[in-house]
Symmetry: C2
Subunit: 148 residues, 2 copies
DNA sequence: AAAGTGTGTAACAATCGCACTTGCATACTC
DNA sequence: GAGTATGCAAGTGCGATTGTTACACACTTT
């Protein structure tokens, strides 16, 4: 039930773009700070674009930009844009329908799992990319605007 | 990230043992209701044994038993006994320490991630195996004691 | 004590998703 | 038009999960 590293990297990328304050961020530069490859970042940005969180400018001087203010991007939005898998994985092959327990175990568990997921998502909805970016500035004593 | 079905299967197994009401459950039978192999179940039970949730009886008529009342086994206990990975996965290779954002992004995110995880775990701590087993009985109109 | 039963564990194959890399087409800016 | 940056396809490597076979060990029953 773990997340991929995409979520953490996506938050990293979005915080970085936020602190660029309007200057486009190239995928190659983003890849450098995130210690990964430019193609990985572009795949990530492709998901963020589809979710309406970022846009991309082609050509010289281009790069990634936020599609809306960082204050309006919640970590939950990032999570949903980037994660494919469900928080809870059930039986690889469905349980035996002819067994007393197997026939209803999934239905019996579902409300509890849904509540756990809801609590999880509520917390991610309470934090924005802007707040993460502010924390980065506070912790790292960064002087804005961010170059690299 | 590849996700594990162990948690769902473990709850299934524990609920089944609960409804057996003291009669040992063989790994082979547990494997049948869970639509998997006996060795998979035994590996699962090995973890549950180590966590003090179940015990095993060898020999003829043997099988798995609860180590304590089902009312005292929380879903959180099962989760911790069975899941290896962290809820959030961070960068595969740590972010660039020489970059303004890379140097502090993990520290900046951590409080938020911890809160989400805590909320998630709190919900799992509120439900017991006994309650799941009772739900199975209610939904499936099962007549106790459970045979197979 | 001997036979039968069930667990515990090791070793190996198969599968799947993630991450990385290369290469190239496409689109935009200067 | 030259240069730059994204978008995407294809193939590799890796690790975790799951499934399978095999076998040693321990306990119960007769």
């Amino acid at each position: 039930m773990p997340t991929s590293s995409r979520f953490a990297v996506a938050v990293h990328v979005l915080a970085t773009i936020t602190l660029r304050d309007g200057a486009p961020a190239r995928s190659e530069d983003l890849a450098y700070t995130a210690s990964t490859g430019a193609v990985v970042i572009r795949a990530l940005l492709s998901r963020l674009n589809s979710a309406g969180l970022t846009t991309s400018q082609l050509g010289s001087g281009g790069g990634a930009l936020l599609a809306k203010p960082a204050e309006q991007i919640r970590l939950l939005d990032v999570y949903e844009a980037v994660e494919d898998t469900e928080l809870f994985t059930t039986h690889r092959t469905p349980p035996c329908k002819d067994c007393a327990v197997g026939a209803s175990i999934l239905e019996a568990m579902q409300p509890s799992l849904d509540q756990a997921r809801a609590a999880f998502e509520n917390e991610l909805a309470r934090v924005t990319v802007a707040e993460i970016a502010a924390e980065v500035v506070r912790i790292g004593h960064i002087t804005l605007p961010l170059t690299w």
